[in-house]
Symmetry: C2
Subunit: 397 residues, 2 copies
């Protein structure tokens, strides 16, 4: 693997785009769909509430009859009935009458507003009202929560708790979510022998799972072409992420396995960490290859694999938070490479200082745990001096 064959990150993402697998959906109960992505546009098929209903506990009446009401000059009504949200019978409010209602109850015919309990007093079946009411005051109007045709979910949109309420209010109990699974295979004799602990695979598993996809951890395999082929063949997932086996050393067998059964699309990326990140097609299936070292694998997953998957599936990008601060220690960039520098920020008075937790070293997971931000130095940057103003992305896992 020659550095001069490496390609840039943006170029790589563009190249991979056309190899996306067929999009498909899978039905989930609404509650279990939270954190996943909708595979459907979902519109409300009805007005909600389906009728005018009381927004408070009080008395339904006709607002015209309260125009001059005040504490000293209350208007008076005859209490002619009671309605609860569960009431089925129809009742009518006539002139001079009021009907007791609780929150959520249907507004009786003839009434156009509800006076709150605390603005009234009741005695012997007569209600005194101390305030004037406007038309529809304290009334939840038909369709005010959800209008028929309102877009509850867009295809590709992430499903959050408020959607649960809206979907269920519309009587929708199942939703088609994007079905996308990622098989993760660790390679390396040193992983199989236990010489090196397999920490990268479970980390990537939880990373992709938290992003709303199905991750499946496959057994680790040694640096053996036949073993690796067997593992790739038995993976039923939509894409495979292989950790290890992509460096320039003689034992790095992944690229040859791919070439024998498909095609390497690129080998090596101009990014730090993550320069061994590669991509190929194995028997028609997309395969990402990342470093076996945790930070390189994580940075590649977040900044290359995830954007590609989103693009394949039509999922909009996350709304990232960008903050700025003053660089506390100078940084050097390898010209032509894009560097992802983990930073820790410190407030000093009104200023925020930004310290790299570590610049090089792709295995240094501590550089991520200690970090609260990611500073990206572009390919054209030669570095950034101490004291310069920088932007960084807030890390949210």
């Amino acid at each position: 693997m020659e550095v001069k064959s490496f390609i840039g990150v943006d170029d790589a993402i563009r190249k991979i785009t056309k190899y996306g697998p067929r999009r498909k959906g899978r039905k989930f109960p609404v509650l279990d769909s939270v954190g996943r992505y909708s595979f459907q546009d979902i519109l409300s098929d009805q007005d909600f509430p389906p009728f005018d209903r009381s927004a408070v506990d009080g008395y339904a009446l006709n607002s015209d009859e309260t125009i001059s009401s005040s504490k000293n000059n209350p208007s008076r009504f005859k209490l002619s009935g009671k309605v609860f949200p569960s009431s089925k019978d129809s009742i009518e409010v006539r002139k001079g009458e009021a009907v007791a209602v609780t929150t959520g109850a249907r507004i009786p015919r003839g009434a156009d507003s509800v006076v709150m309990l605390e603005d009234t007093s009741e005695k012997d079946g007569e209600i005194e009202v101390f305030v004037p009411l406007r038309k529809f005051q304290n009334v939840s109007r038909k369709g005010e929560d959800l209008k028929k045709g309102f877009q509850i979910l867009r295809k590709g949109e992430k499903i959050y708790p408020p959607h649960v309420a809206a979907l269920l209010e519309c009587g929708i109990e199942d939703v088609q979510v994007i079905s996308f699974s990622i098989g993760i295979i660790s390679t390396g004799d040193e992983v199989v022998s236990g010489e090196v602990r397999n920490s990268t695979q479970p980390m990537l598993h939880s990373f992709f799972q938290r992003k709303g996809f199905d991750a499946v951890s496959r057994n680790s395999v040694g640096d053996d072409e036949r073993e690796i082929e067997k593992a790739l063949d038995s993976s039923k997932e939509d894409v495979i992420v292989v950790t290890g086996g992509t460096g320039p050393g003689e034992r790095d067998v992944m690229p040859s396995v791919i070439e024998e059964n498909g095609k390497m699309i690129f080998r090596g990326l101009k990014m730090r960490p993550g320069r061994t990140t590669s991509f190929g097609i194995y028997k028609g299936k997309p395969v990402f290859m990342v470093s076996g070292l945790p930070v390189a694998a994580l940075i590649a997953s977040e900044n290359v694999i995830l954007p590609v998957i989103r693009n394949w599936l039509g999922i909009p990008e996350d709304d990232e938070e960008i903050r700025s601060g003053i660089l506390g220690r100078s940084l050097v960039n390898t010209l032509g490479f894009r560097s992802y520098v983990r930073v820790r920020t410190e407030r000093k008075g009104k200023k925020t200082f930004v310290y790299p937790t570590r610049v090089t070293g792709s295995g240094v997971i501590y550089s991520v745990i200690g970090a609260d931000g990611l500073l990206v130095m572009d390919e054209s940057s030669e570095g950034i001096g101490e004291g310069e103003s920088v932007n960084y992305r807030v890390l949210r896992w």
Copy 2:
């Protein structure tokens, strides 16, 4: 329930603080602990890597012997062996010798640096090195990933994918996480009868679950004191959230159930929406009461219940993102109340405009789905005029 008995949000949170249940932990495999909160301080008990190892594929040698190396004047070494990460045997590099190493392999005794494969050429067991090396170049030093004693997790800290790698690298396979469960009970004859769909309970369930707690949805019960008591008695969770049954209407039986078996701590909050939010102790167990209407329940859960639970459990607050913009439509506040206004933002040129999706109406779940921010008007505010600059919190579920 008289408005004048309502208390302020901050006051309420202070009052509830002392009723926290006993903190306890529960063991989880590392991978399943992601998204939960650590119940332990966890320090690395070893250096990682445990020895100096190669960061690249190449040849281990003594850097002193490469001082004047260049493309035209390469230094030459005899290839005396090969080391892999899985190699167990000890090998020594003598003067004039180099040992082939792959990424992760232990640096052999006598060598202090590794030259990358691409900066060399091999022929007949002889290596030509084209570049000078620094001491420890391309070597991952003992302890550079994790120093013994490095704090991987703090008690109360949320566990994220990078922690998975760090814990496993240290050989830690289980972690004590904060054990905290929330029982959710819906009340209301209209819910039991199906007249009103029970959308609030599943929404709160997914809300608390996503925040890293165990949510348990209990059967819905009608507005009947004995039924409610039975439901409360059968809930084994650490706290209970009851939806519905807290308004000022005559059928609101929750407060009397609590008073008969414990104590109401407050009834009604000066917040909008969510003014019926209440809290009490039932047979020694904390019980939150929130509106049955989804938005009021959600705003109360996020802005009252969640901060209280975090405080009880020693979990630091989320790092919220505050943005600013120009208010696109004037807002009126009820003096003495704190209003949580759902807003949608729109970029127009360089300016961000902030539009309330809806000011009143606690049932209006559409006001949350359409929103990307939450604007809080404090108790002392009388309102904010159109065109004024405002801050809002970015909504992240």
